[in-house]
Symmetry: D2
Subunit: 370 residues, 4 copies
């Protein structure tokens, strides 16, 4: 029996502090604020350590939603998962994707096949010295399983995207660890983002049985043969724990939407993007498919750590002016936008252990009208 | 009768000063240095005013070729046209494309159809105050016609790519104009690159009959409905005149190669890239076509001046950290590399009046083995 | 008779959203929120078009102050002038300076000499096409006079710093003007910041009688011999009118603080910084002066438009990777911090018509304990 | 008896490829090219991994000097030490400083006191896995002693500046080490620059007896209490060994020039800059001293690794848009230029183990006419 419905709303923003689109949909009744489970956004910062557009966007959303939830702004974040991915390089367009969930008695129309389901969980707060190491891997794996249960999905094959928000190190946090006599995985704030993303992704891979559970600290950012095909992890300065959101298809869902995915083997893997679109019944833009409407594409991008893409040297890792995550988002964003026909797609940087080295997962959500 | 043969060699570089690949081909006899007409390169600088990788690459190539041409290094540049486009953002891979031309008695195999031909010409040196204005347009148009004649092409429909190298303004040059009592089109070095590229492209459009010849100074960077579908212009600090290279197909050519093109209507126009590939018998990577080998793709990229791509807001023009030309090259480079299956493609930034606003021309050269 | 007291509080911030220092001082009673007139801050964005740290800081301050003022957050900005200058390059340290003002019956201790006074005024909203032109100059001049009256200062010689917050152009605003058939001073968002700052500074110069009032549109960013020695203007995306804050000394003030200034003739004018310190009884760090405590230094910095500093070529205007305003803030900030002994100084970029070309005003506020 | 003379020539450049100033001095006889021992330059790149202005400048100088030395361009680098420090942020002005040395019978005028002497030495080529580790420390220390002997200086107290050019890691070099089964100190090219600079500086400290010789790999970039007060190290992609240049005063020198130094304790240590100027008889600009002419200032700058400068938070280490070395050079360059009265000073980034954490050595060369 279908017991749940999941809604997905993609809303353009005019700046990191813009909540007008969401408020309009709440005002019109299109979105019930009490049903909002998670909001994934692309904000127009640099996606790096000092990208304050992420926390600004979260702050603005919390302030706007608070009166609708009868909560003080601070507590909205405990109720709704906000994942803001900074960096809209190239043609990428700032927007948010709002996920809602509600229990239903019976769907108005009985959909065929499995439909979109969503689940969430959190880890405890980490110590700075735990970031990028096995503690973060293990705790994340536990949270992924909890989120699957929350989504009502038991088969890992039904999971198509696992989004995680994870912490990073700052000078203060490194100092705090040192004051306790502990060394962090790195002393560089920027480098710590990669460590945290990598360990979180390995946690997903462990939870879904993609790799064995016996990982060590030194595997992180070294053993790139170990990865998850559905993990997408973003690090941000504003939290010290991991937030896990799983997206998959479930027979218990009466959603209009469904999700599919593929894995890009490198940053120019157009075939994988096409496969992800096709997995959910879509084709390359501008070719429309009856009964299928593209809602959003969720992908991870990174500069191949060996310095080449399909045999050709790239210069992303040697550029002191632009960080490699910005380069990679711009390039992969350009490819996906071209195939999807829109720049309002969620392409996030830093794909360590998320797909093979230099590649990354690409998931597609579509509305099914049949 | 086929009287000429044109060769095209794409050679990877390990840095802007790397000439080893070219020297190896000269050493092996694959390239006769006396037949080199033009070298188009992608170098790994920022593509902006202070991108010295372009002049460094030219300097290194001149020094390396000089003994083979019995010329002092300084004079090599008078003989061979060097067009270095800075900026290998994202997956773009530094490389040079060497064009050779020689007169032949009769081809070993008689090709069918028109084949690749190349022609060149130069304008006089411009005054700083002429850049981005009608003088630059008019002189460029004259040079384009001279280059067509040099290529042995009389029908504008056979022209598929016109590459122009043009000057920019520096503080010194602006001062020099001011000292003569003249104002330049802009006092910003960065902005001057756009003016110079735009006026040069309008010159191509005039020469090929794409637009009427009655242009005014104020049309440059304003009347974006006026453009050339085959112009590609790059500005650099190292010269004060325009160098024009036309690439097209001619019945007089016995080349193994042929060229085709399409026009991208916006930065995510995958259909145009596919059309350009198909125009010369190729398909989306990794699908191979018998008798057709992709050599290189030549395209222009720019941030849409109206701040949107297909209805979605982009942030390229508001980014104070990364210039819009870098954003655009990264995004369009990602799309083209994905469809072509290689990052070693020539995607150059700043497409003012080169294709419609926000779009640009895309040309493809293939080797035909049938 | 002394009828007013002005307070100045410099408070370090840990990020653009950090209001904890101000809240602590309100909690302890050190600051009465109802007496806050203006807050000038340095936030850690790029100081450019897409610097959202400024509006984020203002948003956070408004939300925090609202309950203390019995106002909704939106209305706090009508009551308190917030001027956030983005960019803490080099050693510059993020902080806010809070100015309070209250009427008093009689001061506890009767100070000698003129003391710090502050006044404020605003212009009407500008149309995009008015920015950087005579309308902005004229309206600003009127507002400066109103702010002087508000400060109780009639002699321009007693004015030592005039801070203005002014708008900039975005793609949207340029389009809006074009839709009305009007051209803006520039179509570049980044360039518009300079135009707006320049016209606003000329308005100050007109109001204080530093230059004649008969200015034309084309003088802006051209006639650099026209400037104000005390204007400091910052442009931001978040408003469409000018906010004017004058700081000077008045016999009607019973403040503990006093202000002085000097003019830097170029970006390395250490003598001017020393003179500004000495004007208020201070010396080069680390030399302490009894009865004098440095509170803050307020200065403007810019890349000399002629491309040289005291005969040596600089590269700030030719750098496509880092905007010249960031370069200039870093360099001038380094000099002032070295002489003042602290990086928590207010050095703001873009000094068009604020001091001579390449230079800028430098003001110092000190607490006088004698 | 005075047996040697050392000359110092500071020459402005108009770009990294500009050799005209040096050629003019050779043409006029002011510089004898056969006497050139070393050239230290500031070039206008980003000072990072992909700063090709350094190798371009060296390439241009080698090509220009080759005919004067009867050497092929490649061999000029074996004869003359070129140290190009990239990055002229803020007011820093591109220039080269040419050091010449010749044996003399007896000086025309007998100078009083010790005068400038210079000596050089090189290490062997390093393996990538040796960079930033004890092998680099030990080999450097040996080379410093050899360079002191070459300079005719035996007392470490007479050494005022030791400039070292050292290698960095690239993707290729990291791969090469991995192929041999060895891990490099870091896999990041940018991070490797710090490791190499740090180990080289520790080598100087060991050689001069500033610290004990029993260092371990893990001390590099960790034990910031270990440092040299006169080391200045720059890493570049163009070499795999260390080049050591010592500058000091010697009774055997008949040079017109002398050198002194001080140590900046932090990035705003104006007192140290003043002390360095005074050590050689100079004062703060614009105050002239009879018989003393400032030739150049040589200093190292870095972002304090604890994230603060004299108690105030800085944002250099958290900035993903601009590398901390660029920030630090801009700020310290601004301070030194302000005190020296010129932006044509040699301020180089990355002061790991060169002076205390966040500080660095500052040396001054003056011409003495008495």
């Amino acid at each position: 029996m279908r017991t749940r419905s999941v809604g997905v709303f993609k809303i353009a923003t005019t700046g990191p502090g813009d909540v007008s689109g969401l408020m309009a949909r709440i005002g019109s009744g299109a979105i019930d604020p009490r049903e909002i489970l998670a909001i994934l956004g692309k904000t127009e910062g640099n996606g790096g350590v000092n990208d304050f557009t992420r926390e600004y966007a979260v702050s603005a959303l919390c302030a706007a939603l608070a009166p609708h939830l009868d909560l003080p702004p601070r507590e909205v974040e405990q109720r709704i998962a906000f994942v803001m991915s900074g960096g809209t390089e190239g043609v990428l367009s700032p927007h948010i994707t709002v996920f809602t969930r509600r229990a239903i008695d019976s769907p108005p129309v009985r959909p065929s096949g499995k439909r979109l389901s969503i689940g969430m969980a959190q880890t405890r707060d980490f110590l700075p010295e735990e970031l990028g190491r096995s503690a973060q891997i293990t705790e994340t794996a536990t949270a992924v399983k909890a989120a699957m249960a929350d989504a009502g999905i038991s088969d890992p094959a039904d999971i198509h995207f696992v989004q995680i928000k994870c912490p990073l190190l700052t000078s203060d946090r490194v100092e705090a660890a040192a004051a306790r006599g502990n060394k962090t995985a790195t002393t560089s704030a920027y480098a710590s983002m990669a460590y945290s993303r990598g360990a979180s992704a390995l946690g997903v891979a462990v939870a879904l049985g993609e790799i064995a559970a016996d990982l060590h600290d030194e595997d992180v950012l070294r053993r790139y043969d170990l990865f998850s095909s559905v993990a997408s992890t973003s690090s941000g300065i504003e939290l010290m724990h991991n937030v896990v959101i799983v997206l998959g298809n479930s027979a218990a869902s009466a959603s209009e939407f469904a999700i599919g995915h593929a894995v890009m083997n490198d940053a120019i893997d157009s075939a994988a993007v096409v496969a992800a679109l096709q997995s959910i019944g879509l084709r390359i833009a501008p070719q429309a498919t009856e009964g299928r409407e593209l809602i959003n594409v969720f992908a991870k991008a990174e500069a191949s750590p060996d310095g080449t893409v399909r045999g050709c040297r790239h210069t992303m890792l040697e550029d002191t002016d632009i960080s490699s995550t910005r380069h990679a988002r711009a390039a992969v964003g350009g490819l996906i936008a071209g195939l999807a026909g829109t720049g309002a797609v969620y392409v996030s940087g830093g794909a360590e252990h998320q797909g093979p080295a230099g590649g990354g997962p690409v998931a597609v959500i579509a509305r099914l009208s049949d």
